[in-house]
Symmetry: C2
DNA sequence: CTTTTGTATGCTGTATGCAGCATTTTTGTT
DNA sequence: AACAAAAATGCTGCATACAGCATACAAAAG
């Protein structure tokens, strides 16, 4: 398996040459590898081997690892290198608790700021997600689900909130990736999403905030069994 | 001015030799320099010069910069190095909004979990802070103030919450550092702190949460003028 | 046979060297 | 004198080389 980083560097975005730096490319690549399980929790990130595998030198690789360490995806052990951080049940619960508070806040802010067009865009994504539910396309459903949550957070217009929510979502992605919920829970989740959209369209802060909170609380109950 | 990093590496903590790595030392050093204004917002972090000034080589320095970039204290501009991030009024407001939500959450959790001994420890710090208020020791007051907030967050027992709160507090420290509030506001802040401790001792979630929220909202109003 | 110590290997942590690109300055031309 | 073009300077970005520390294995002593 040749994991070498593709030559996507220096790609243009709208005429302007988007300069990409190698360490940033590596960060994204490693992040994906961790989320998708190519790098399991507890795996040591061997600088020599991993660097050779990706076709990059140790320096930018090390910079990328430090960046991910600050993000909380890897752990730095002095003189022993970096390992993919392993999350216990407690840590997952902690993250979900914070994520819940952040989505509740985002929901309130979104109700104040969202334009009709923006709400319509979410509604469209929501409808598409429902179609995936009806055709049992779990993968796409899951993806759109996350996207809707991110869109609501984005509506808050709060960059700090968006950033932190994104970081937490990334960390949890690997966990949820495994947590394939059963059909009974799935229907409930869809029902909650319907309520969510309705509350957002009515700009009902309290209701939206409450639904988002319950939604995550149930998500936790679903994954707690697999830990 | 010799800014060279002191030989604090490899200091012992309770018999066990605490191995320190250079990039981590540099991270802390740079963070302090940014907070205290030695590195003003917009300042370019020149690898050669800065490295020489600190007495370290470029590699660990660069790793430290990448780490701080992930923390949000510096900004990475391709081909132009790193600059100390400049926060606008909007961004500060965003951060305070999130910080408020975090402290409200922490307050609730703390009421559930705090032991009498832990509450007593906060009370002691609080009393010491009050003494600083009476003797007009602004600097020490300010320090203890932040410490109390951090202690309450720590009582939540939620590591994610503690981390994020710490990061935000660090980013805002530089701003608040400048925001020397007048005596009239100072008295109000002290009054709020008294209420805070009282609510915590009574384990009154809703009250503590509300006070913490108001407290930060006022803090924002105090600093908004200086931006 | 077990335990302890010494040695060897391999990895991380740090330093230095080289190439590419951006910026700035200088010189030539209009 | 002003503007443009070219060259030089200096910085970032990447790779490689070196040193220190941890671990593992082997050998010797109890």
């Amino acid at each position: 398996m040749d994991e070498a980083i593709p030559v996507e560097r220096q790609r243009s975005t709208g005429g302007r040459v988007q300069r990409t730096v190698l360490h940033e490319t590596i960060v994204n690549h490693l992040r994906d590898m961790i989320i998708e399980g190519d790098l399991a929790p507890g795996t040591r990130l061997h600088e020599g081997q991993l660097g050779e595998q990706l076709g990059v030198s140790r320096t930018p690789l090390r910079e990328a690892i430090k960046y991910l360490a600050s993000e909380g995806l890897v752990e730095l052990v002095p003189s022993r290198g970096a390992v993919v951080k392993r999350f216990g049940a407690r840590e997952v619960q902690d993250m979900l608790t914070v994520l819940q508070a952040m989505e509740e806040l985002a929901g309130r802010l979104a109700c104040d700021l969202a334009s009709d067009a923006q709400v319509a865009a979410i509604r469209a994504t929501h409808d598409e997600m429902i179609r995936c539910y009806e055709t049992k396309d779990r993968m796409q459903y899951y993806k759109l689900n996350q996207q809707i949550h991110s869109m609501i957070v984005a509506l808050s217009g709060n960059t700090t909130l968006i950033d932190i929510h994104g970081t937490l979502q990334t960390r949890l992605k690997r966990i949820r990736f495994v947590g394939h919920e059963g059909p009974e829970n799935w229907a409930a989740a869809v029902a909650e999403h319907n309520e969510m959209i309705a509350a957002l369209e009515l700009r009902d802060k309290d209701r939206l905030s409450k639904i988002l909170g319950c939604h995550l609380q149930k998500a936790w109950e679903r994954v707690r069994s697999i830990l």
